[in-house]
Symmetry: C2
Subunit: 281 residues, 2 copies
């Protein structure tokens, strides 16, 4: 059972009355509308687990930065503004007090730079480091971008070239595309971030929208191979569809008729292979 299958199963089980909930399981964030509010709330949660998402030995500041950046990227993908975050952190023996403080400093620096307030969390000891970031953001009511809105006439775009993270051995400090995401409100039809590779994430966007896609070109970051650009993951660029060109974005293809979720490239079906944290063992 892979992540998509399990997510689909959970979504079926969780069906029912969903007061105030505009979008939920399967998108980058849940969208929730509190009574009377002029904004929609965006809620996302992302794990960072030792030996799954990272290996010991990385600088603590960068890990703290990246755990928040991954959550912020989900907010960017919905065109939102981050407001508050909560961090759950399980700390292993090897991470001493100085390490933990460097980790928090990395997180808090990015929080300040993006107007995000660390508002709480949970702490525990564990055998391996495990973090889970919760980010709560806002978008003007009804304007949050979703991945299930792509339609057949749309062009497909990315906010930048891909494969750079893989080419550099996943050693980057992730830069969430918050500014760019905000400019997509009212312009993009469907959007998500490219966290697990273009092939897998475009497949997910098409599946959620019930459409297929035809890729014309894949912009490669300096030093990246085509395989890294298609399947590398961790680039955190934004992937979106729109009816007209968007300044600063690279057009890579278009939405077409075809089986839901199918992505075609150079005349062949592209395998939705990428960084599936769940099916990978």
């Amino acid at each position: 059972m892979n992540e998509l299958d399990l997510v689909a199963w959970v979504r079926r089980q969780a069906r029912g009355r969903r007061p105030g909930l505009a979008a939920g399981i399967g998108d980058d964030c849940a969208i929730y509308r509190p009574r009377g509010a002029s904004v929609d709330l965006l809620l996302t949660t992302d794990m960072l687990i030792e030996d799954v998402h990272f290996r010991r030995g990385q600088p603590a500041e960068r890990l703290g930065h990246n755990v928040l950046a991954r959550g912020l990227s989900d907010i960017a993908a919905m065109g939102g503004d981050p407001r508050i975050c909560l961090l759950s952190l399980a700390v292993p023996e090897w991470a001493d007090e100085a390490w933990v403080k460097r980790f928090y400093r990395g997180l808090l620096k990015l929080a300040r730079e993006t107007g995000t307030v660390l508002a709480g969390g949970d702490l525990a000891r564990a055998g391996k480091l495990a973090g889970d970031i919760v980010v709560c953001g806002e978008a003007p009511r009804g304007e949050a971008l979703r991945r299930d809105r792509a339609r057949r006439v749309d062009d497909i775009f990315v906010s930048g070239p891909l494969g750079g993270a893989a080419a550099r051995g996943y050693a980057d400090a992730i830069q969430p595309r918050l500014e760019f995401g905000r400019t997509l409100r009212g312009r993009a039809r469907a959007a998500m971030d490219v966290s697990d590779g273009l092939a897998l994430d475009l497949h997910r966007l098409c599946l959620a929208s019930g459409v297929a896609a035809e890729l014309d070109e894949v912009p490669m970051a300096p030093g990246a191979t085509l395989d890294q650009a298609l399947h590398g993951g961790e680039d955190y660029e934004l992937l979106f569809t729109a009816r007209a060109a968007v300044p600063g974005a690279i057009r890579i293809g278009r939405i077409v008729n075809g089986p839901a979720g199918e992505v075609r490239f150079r005349g062949e079906r592209l395998e939705p292979r990428g960084y599936d944290h769940f099916s990978r063992r």
Copy 2:
């Protein structure tokens, strides 16, 4: 460094402009007020980690129930109504598909019973099971209960006898006191849930409020020892202070003058010993 020290350090580091944030690090939930909303949002996150919070072999349904129940208890402690939840789950080899589905069924049953909608989350593989629940709740604007509001004239109460979870070997399905929590709005002055034992949690409430406490009696659950009632943890009763008696609550003492955080019982200072998930190794 224990949990309280680290939380205090993080709180100092995270200081600054906090628009919309009424309470944050150190309480059961963060309180956030979206623009225009007639409600305050309550946000909480709680981890459940194999070999830290539970041992393998427990029924999957009960674990799924308990991971959500722990988050709901934080909402109850603030007098809130739960709305949506998100689950991050890292699944180890030993948990097969059937196990994971039973885990979700336990969580979703409690979600339905309490009007909580599972709205998203994250999935990964890991060496040990690690879950992190996010619960988003609401309270009428300005009415959420906080742990830092106890004053010297208050009496101290609990919603039920203590030590039962420890006496039964922590094998209970946790019952979050949501109904009781709602009845405390406008009645209680300060409140929190007893997750880590009365001695430690009352110490935390007093520390946050800058007051001391004098315990007169400790109501023991059937089969529980005094030590279990004071230090056992996992009871998830509500601990609160109020100026007048509250139906259904047990009076256990009063707020007094004294060093912030000090709890006295039978003429002696009670050690703030309990289930500190962070300092325990």
